[in-house]
Amino acid sequence: MARVYNWQIGREMSYWYPESRPQKQFAAVFDINKCIACQTCTVACKTTWTSGRGQEYMLWNNVESKPYGCYPLAWDLKLLDMLNGQEWTGNRYDGQTIFESAPAGERALGWRPETQDYAYPNVGEDDCSGQVNGGASFSMPHMNWFFYLARICNHCTYPSCLSSCPRSSIYKRPEDGIVLVDQGRCRGYQECVRACPYKKVFFNPMTGTSEKCIACFPKIEQGIQPQCFVNCIGKIRMAGWISKPENARADNPIDYLVHIKKVALPLFPQFGLEPNVYYIPPIHVPTSFTRQLFGPGVDEAIRTYRNAPNDRDLAGLLCLLGSSEMMMPRWKRQGDTVMGLDEKGVELVRVPMNEPVHIRPAFDRLYQVQRTNCP
């Protein structure tokens, strides 16, 4: 085991391989507050990548209703249960990561789902955390609540899928940090399925190898965002590149949201993988729940997000999510307009922060008819 630095837990930790960051790291921000669980992302991925034999059950992208929803069954609860105390002191995690709590003979703490565990793609869909009594939903955070958690592979900085493979069949691309299973080398041992805490590697029983989200690398290589991003109806997603915190750039949209505004947070940072999908936490959910999912930064992130109407840059940048299919490694705001830019600063898209509003009177005087909104 090597000692590596994981900024998400504010300390060094043990990992199977020494620290080796890619030249660029693929990352994403998902604004949970905008997700409507239409599953368009799920279908976009499914039809693009996993409509073959043996892939029937696989959802490289899935959306689950929290608190009860999960795919595969209890993916999060099982590991949380195994991973004892998860205390933080400020931004430093005092508990053990899955690497540090690996039992004898294992490279990481983990468990392996069985076929049945994949049979309920979103058990608990739209189930509320409790009974909704009169008036309960009118306070913030809500007394009873649910929210949608869209999940893909996190293309982790310290992937446990990769470190658990005894054959080194999983690799992290140095050019973009995307984590891939070498389909020529994998022998289907399912060690990665056991070790990935997010359960984002899937065993294909018809090819006998494990398969996973590929971050749509053929699109990324052309500067285009992945399928589940560009098809998102709610425009909750943005793909980009994340820097180490000390190298954060204000004109990099991912850096700005994650490092500068700290409004987007990793999922279960305490597992220790430095996952690279960052979530803007749901603002209507008690933070006693979301703190466990997104770490100690949740309260501050929610305060920052709720203050967006007074923060022109943050509000502007949030308007860029879902505005173009192109990757936008840079951005800037000019007045009420926000622009997505390429690496050289060339404009890719321009979005007004306030859409023009036209109010049509309910009665149309010209035709002497009442207007309706029906199509």
């Binding site: 003979g105 069985e114 658990s164 005894p166 994998c186 399925v193 294909n204 018809m206 090819t207």
Partner: protein, 283 residues
Amino acid sequence: MRAVIWVLIMTMLLAAACRSPAPRSNEVVAVAAGTVPADPSDPIWRNAPEYAAKLLPQDLVDPRLMKASTAEVLVRAVIAGSEIAFRLEWTDPSKSDLPGAGQFIDACAIQIPARIEPDLPDPQMGMPGKPVEIAYWRADWQASVNGREDSIKSLFPNAAIDHYPYDAPPLQPGSPEQQEFAKRYAPADAVGNRREGARPNPVEDLLAEGPGTLSPATRTTSRASGVYGQPGWSVVIVRSLPEGLAPLTRTQVAFAIWEGSLDEVGARKMRSAWIPLAIREAE
């Protein structure tokens, strides 16, 4: 007449008693025969002495097998011409030959140093510069050879599939275009890594130079046949005679068994130490 029949019966019984059970041996002795037996029930096996190979959990490299399972594998060997056949028999109360999430497959393997030399490679998959040859048999491959259909319905009989994109018109089922298109949806197959699917042979020849280095041999020349019954598996693997192995030379052999129902796969296996392998010419 009755006396003649009695004499005949007694002679046959005596002959059988002399042949079986074969004496246990303290090394694997391959006896020469006219042809190598392809089948575990071939009577030729009775001529070969039986070696009981004690198995240990693989607990030297992670991931390890922390709990011992299959205690021993009974081995017999026969040579004929340029081939050597091994019969491996072990107790396994449950047949595991269906692949799936969290499901693992019964399997066995025979390992022999690639070269006969005084310094042996590590018994754990060899070492750099000292490769080992491995013949690896798997129960799901055997099921495929025995005629199990290459369909998701073989794994989930009630599965309902609308269609696969490569099954849709205008592609003609079975046509080269259709098969080429289907590969796009089976990436491992597309790069020639056939871990599952229809196959003519349930065994694979491999090379290794240490844990984690297993790779396919240039081509598989071994063949195998496995039968499940009580108390477990009986598998014959026929491979080419190790280079240089002759009546007056010895090499070493090691065995590994995977018990699928106990999640044994890859490095999580029961394995033997090196065991001397000798040849005995026909008497």
